[in-house]
Subunit: 142 residues, 2 copies
DNA sequence: ACCTAGATGAGAACGATTCTAAACTACAAC
DNA sequence: GTTGTAGTTTAGAATCGTTCTCATCTAGGT
């Protein structure tokens, strides 16, 4: 039996209670093509849930992360972003406009733990590549 | 002529005005063995500069970053850290206690820019390895 | 239909950082 | 040395993302 892909079943399979807000938030992330911030989610769902609080969005995305349905990515200083792509992957970040692009490593990283951290147990890693995205490059006054 | 290593000359060579606060902040970072936060700097210099404002620390570390004398590293959510080690290097982060360790890659990363980001101009990259540091591993109740 | 653990909502609180505006000072020019 | 001024510092307010509190509400098992 394959795991179903609609929000309700994903929530149930993860052992989370199904509430309208959670369903909407997860569905939003499933439909959203990119890396949404809490505010993206919050403002996009204002129409359907005028009384939903930001706390609910924060609580929900945190729980979705915990059960592995979404991945939190925090690049630089700004707001955290939430990604429905939970496969291990990395990001290109535009230092001009903040745009974010996924990328995959051709081969896994070999980390040589330094002496002073001997015994460090690696859980995972994330590569943040900074640079200028094609759009911003075009807009450069040259 | 080699570039001198004391704070005053470093500031001058970088074209920054030499103020007592700047000198003290840069000297603190030169002496500090690790990754200091703005608060570390601010509280450590309270004795010598009781009236120094946090803004000054923020302004100064920002300028020092801009001229390449220090490197800002932002891992996860907490406060930014500032590193006098400006060589390209990466970090192990303990997910329990937040401890930070430097590490170097054995070979440079090969980044394959995805199609949707064709033309992305890579400036630099930073690898954040998450895991459990040896100290926290020992303290685990098993 | 009922009960209760868990979820929601409104707003306060928080920590990191940035902004503002007035007073001060490094340093180049005289 | 004195002066002028652009750049710096200061205190505190403001901002932003996020977490907390607690009273109300509800999903879902019985």
């Amino acid at each position: 039996m394959q795991a179903p892909k609609d929000a309700v079943h994903l929530l149930k399979n993860a052992g989370l209670r199904v509430t309208p807000q959670r369903e909407a938030i997860l569905q939003f992330l499933l439909d959203y093509n990119g890396h949404a911030t809490v505010d993206d989610i919050y403002t996009s769902l204002q129409d359907r849930f005028p009384s939903m609080s930001v706390s609910t969005v924060y609580n929900t995305v945190k729980q979705l992360s915990q059960v592995g349905l979404v991945k939190e990515i925090g690049v630089g200083d700004g707001a955290s972003r939430f990604d429905i792509n939970v496969e291990p992957h990395h990001h290109l970040v535009c230092t001009r406009c903040g745009a974010l692009f996924d990328f995959y490593l051709e081969e896994p990283l070999r980390v040589s733990v330094p002496r002073e951290a001997e015994g460090f147990e690696v859980e995972d890693y994330h590569v943040e590549v900074r640079g200028i995205c094609p759009r911003c490059k075009k807009q450069q006054v040259s």
